[in-house]
Amino acid sequence: MLCDDGFENVVEGGHTTGFALLARLPYYRGLGLSMVEDIAVSIDGQAVPREAVRLALRGRSWSLDEMEHCFDEKWNFGEKARVVIARPGGLAPGQHQVDLAIRYRVSYLPFVPTTRTGRPLSLAA
């Protein structure tokens, strides 16, 4: 679900605008983005605000709210998506505790599952 690779700061036009990590949807099939309800990230125990999170797939990206209305794209099975968090200055290099919780709506389940994971990841220098 949370990948070791791809945990790095995001630099745009010389400015570090945030950081990113790679994640896979913990589910046995791909899911339309409208049904991925939440991607909750916390860094070193600090929850990242929902508005700061974007999902990037094959050149396109959406905020969590935008995903709710996206019916023409899906997070494919086992596909590594880039989760981009806006944070001026990004993160200090070195190890950070990364916690991730993905909630997704599955029509045939009599509950809305949330899958959590977390471990220390080292930020690519």
Binding site: Y28, L33, E73, G78, S107
Partner: protein, 336 residues
């Protein structure tokens, strides 16, 4: 007793390997062909990309047919999902559900499948409304009868009555052998113990399952034993699974066209730890079932926290068992 039951595999069984990109679609198809499991079932939204939101993955469909050709395998079933909660807070209107199923009929047909599998929570009216369209495309829609449902549950009876009334032969059932869990799966119990269930409570629940005790009683007992969180979750599984009888398939056999050979753990001596496949195959033979038994390995999620997942080995063990039960010679790739 001669029979026309053939061996197949749902690539769902290799989900751990394909998720982590340790196996490609071709690896899966080749593995199945080698062990003589020539029927291939897929969860469309697992084995192909973009479907249905982005549209028909034409290139991948072409490659699929090339693989069928190369390995002499036969497309059997496309398991489709019908996300009727696609829009948050709404249930997809009837007409849209019908249109959505028709798209999956198209996809199944494009893949050369004979069947597409509907999940059990789809309303019978939706499937009946698609029966004509399915017939035209040479597809039969199969409702998966899956725990906690079983062939005597009113919801399934309602589907069966709707199919008979429709007069169409393009509607049927796909029973998942997870309905017939006759012993509490060992891999479940050990996972729950690893999750923190005290051993004496886990033993109690396993014995209660063996004694066929009503789930509500087990839940009360576990609470009174001081069980919390994981222990309650383990007891709750008894609401979901129960040791129903394989022979209850006989009344519906004329509508059963595919079988999910669900399994959680094949032991070293090629026996499924909790599902009575000898009884199941005997019933299928008795009922004159003609079709595939497609392996559906689901033990991975129960052991991945502590053990390496060996999906291919598990599928091989199940197919050695199936060869024995189906009176087939064991192919070389399955020789122990």
């Amino acid at each position: 007793m001669s029979h026309q039951i053939r061996r197949g595999v749902s690539l769902y069984s290799f989900q751990n390997d394909t998720f982590l990109r340790h196996m490609t679609l071709e690896d899966c198809v080749r593995t199945c062909a080698e062990i003589g499991a020539l029927g291939i079932e897929v969860v469309g939204e697992q084995s192909f990309t973009g479907w249905p939101e982005v549209g028909m993955p034409t290139a991948e469909v072409a490659r699929w047919h090339a693989l069928m050709e190369r390995y002499g395998t036969t497309p059997v079933c496309h398991d489709f999902m019908l996300d009727y909660k696609r829009v948050k807070g709404q249930v997809m209107p009837f007409a849209e559900q019908v249109a959505s199923v028709k798209k999956d009929i198209d996809f199944g047909a494009a893949l050369g499948m004979r069947f597409i599998r509907s999940l059990v929570s789809v309303a019978p009216e939706v499937l009946v409304a698609c029966a004509g369209y399915a017939e035209d495309k040479g597809i039969t829609i199969l409702l998966e009868v899956h725990a906690p449902l079983h062939f005597d549950h009113p919801w399934i009876i309602r589907h069966a009555e709707a199919y008979e009334q429709s007069g169409s032969q393009a509607l049927g059932f796909l029973p998942d052998m997870g309905m017939f869990v006759h012993r509490f799966p060992r891999v479940w119990k050990e996972r729950f113990v690893r999750n923190g269930v005290p051993r004496h409570i886990a033993d109690y629940i396993e014995q209660a399952y063996q004694d066929r005790v009503l789930s509500e009683y087990v839940l009360l007992d576990v609470q009174q034993m001081g069980g919390t969180g994981p222990a309650i979750a383990m007891a709750e599984t008894l609401r979901h699974n129960a040791a129903f009888e394989p022979k209850r398939m006989l009344d519906f056999m004329h509508r059963i066209h595919n079988i999910h050979g669900k399994f959680y753990e094949m032991t070293e001596d090629d026996v499924e730890y909790s599902i009575p496949y000898d009884e199941i195959v005997a019933v299928l033979k008795q009922g004159g079932y003609q079709g595939y038994i497609c392996s559906e390995y689901e033990g991975n999620r129960w052991i991945e926290d502590a053990h390496p997942v060996q999906s291919v080995e598990q599928v091989k063990r199940q197919h050695r068992m199936l060869c024995r039960l189906l009176d087939e010679p064991i192919p070389a790739a399955l020789q122990a």
